[in-house]
Symmetry: C2
DNA sequence: ACTAACTCTACCTACTAGATAGAGTTAATT
DNA sequence: AATTAACTCTATCTAGTAGGTAGAGTTAGT
């Protein structure tokens, strides 16, 4: 299961992608629209900002904006940011490889081969799905035209 | 990531599958061979016993035996037992479906479609991989002949 | 009776998820 | 320059879980 936090992050990005990208969107607006606890969402957006996915403006008329086109933000990269490695075993992670403490040899590990296939299949989906895929037909067309 | 416990369970089953199925295998043997903390493995095997995957014999000459052929024990069923649902979202679980608290409509959920594909891809691998796949060529041949 | 081995329940410690609280900072407006 | 809307940051809290340990109880072979 993915974390609640990752779910919120994806839905917040989806909300931003759907919004008019000329005017920033308030944390409060996103929170209400997506039923996300506001203070929790603050943290999430701040984090996404530090990682360069969104930008913010303070003060009156402030809010958040998407910094990259929705088609360039993959589910995989968001999940990896929030929940950590995609791989089901540490010894299969691309970004946080770690040898299993209890495993004598990776070549001989009884279960590694199977999970390698799981990892591959999962990545295939997650890195080919983007925030643009969350938009319905109408919105997606608008985004493509604008982009 | 799968839990350490699930990893241990799979490796313990692999050890049992590789063993001579005429003589029970001691918890201590499995623990040593697979570098699993013995007392923790006790719990895991007991759990697997209650679920009908292995049987045990107490007292002298006791130990554990596989109850089903290795080819009939899938990775998916073990993972589901130990770690719970395979699906990345509660609303996509086959065995423990639960509506997301914060999601208004499943039809319109921005992220559900993508994760449905993840779930499908993962299940495809996990329910087609069995404990028999953990055996190397030599052992697998022996098991097939014996079965 | 002895003892090897599984059985069961309880417990422990560290960590994480999922938040909430509140003081601080910035910038537009009046 | 005062006000206020809005983001920023750090601290804190609570419940739950992972991963493991302890130890008394039970069974069955010798």
């Amino acid at each position: 299961m993915i974390s609640q936090k990752a779910k919120y992050a994806l839905r917040a990005l989806a909300a931003l992608a759907r919004a008019d990208n000329k005017r920033p969107m308030l944390i409060a607006e996103i929170a209400e629209q997506q039923k996300i606890p506001k203070k929790f969402l603050e943290q999430i957006l701040l984090d996404l900002k530090h990682r360069g996915l969104v930008m913010s403006k303070r003060g009156k008329e402030g809010g958040y904006l998407l910094l990259k086109p929705a088609e360039e933000i993959t589910f995989g990269e968001i999940l990896r940011m929030i929940d950590g490695p995609i791989a089901p075993l540490p010894c299969l992670s691309q970004t946080a490889y770690r040898k299993c403490d209890d495993c004598l040899s990776e070549q001989e590990c009884e279960i590694r081969h199977v999970f390698a296939r799981v990892a591959e299949a999962t990545r295939e989906v997650l890195f080919n799905a983007t925030i643009a895929d969350t938009l319905d037909g109408q919105n997606r067309a608008a985004v493509v035209l604008a982009g």
